[in-house]
Symmetry: C2
Subunit: 184 residues, 2 copies
């Protein structure tokens, strides 16, 4: 960022008094712009032993497969966000279940949250952000064409847990930052 | 927000093409400024049946009691954020345990995440954001002077779960928005 969102003057990186990290601080009004991780929320919708997957129509990873997921909006719960993304990307009405996985995607400054979900009726279609949507049997999941590592993690845990007959939650971290940034 | 963080020109509220919500869009360069919920992360540190509480030295809720918690930073995991907040606010080195609660604080556009934690040694002191820090027996928790409803929720679930000998996670939503905003 280059300019203050409040007054429009240039910002510069500085450590505010009492803080320990560098922030974008306005050179005119002093407003401090904090940057925090953003929540991406999705679910693994199941219908009769098959999983609803979307092939992405947008970048990043256009053409690759994922579960319905996207940025959480203000004013909604995590469960509402997960259900909304299924409605938008797969035109599917899902019932959100238990917490499946929380994945820290450190290089992207995101936290991905996945829920288990049920798709009661096999009604779905590609929303504007999807090229196609399909109900896929576990053995047919296109593992080499999954869009994101967090999605891969969530899908694998989903299937393992289902085989084990349990619904635990899983934490995971993915870090593709250049080495120097790890130290801080 | 009033000005574009990229080019400094004025922004106006508009629904971008393909979107369904109003965003701050730059009138000059077209940059879209998304606003998303921020993560607040904390823990309930326990040492020999007592819980580490901090009395806040800063607004909001100066003078009221809370568990160590604060905004998650980029580049850290939820667990690291929770441990860091304990180090900063209570000068306490804690071991983060299981997920305790996720609270949607809808009016504040925040998601609060709480973990169970152990404080192995009774070493702590007030950090710059605390007036005092204390190890408090469950019967002595100052329920009328707890700073936030999310903290109250997390503390009560913590104690109930401990009594029951289980460590489940809990979802909860707090919504103090004016009624009109609920509809959307």
């Amino acid at each position: 960022m280059n300019f203050c969102e409040k007054c429009g003057a240039p910002v510069q990186l500085a450590v505010p008094a009492g803080d320990h990290l560098s922030r974008h601080v306005c050179t005119a009004c002093g407003h401090i712009h904090y940057r925090n991780p953003r929540l991406v929320v999705g679910c693994v919708p199941e219908h009769e032993q098959r999983i609803l997957l979307c092939r992405r129509a947008i970048e990043p990873r256009r053409g690759y497969w994922t579960v319905p997921a996207g940025f959480m909006e203000n004013g909604e719960t995590l469960q509402q966000a997960a259900a909304r993304e299924s409605a938008e990307e797969a035109l599917a009405e899902v019932t959100i279940g238990s917490l499946l996985a929380i994945v820290h995607v450190l290089h992207a400054e995101q936290v991905h949250v996945f829920f288990r979900a049920q798709l009661p009726a096999a009604r779905f279609a590609a929303g504007p952000e999807s090229l196609e949507v399909a109900l896929v049997a576990p053995r047919d999941i296109p593992w080499d064409d999954i869009a994101f590592r967090s999605t891969d993690f969530a899908l694998r845990r989903y299937l393992e847990d289902k085989a084990a007959g349990a619904e635990p939650y899983h934490f995971h971290s993915i870090d593709q930052r250049p080495r120097a940034e790890h130290a801080g």
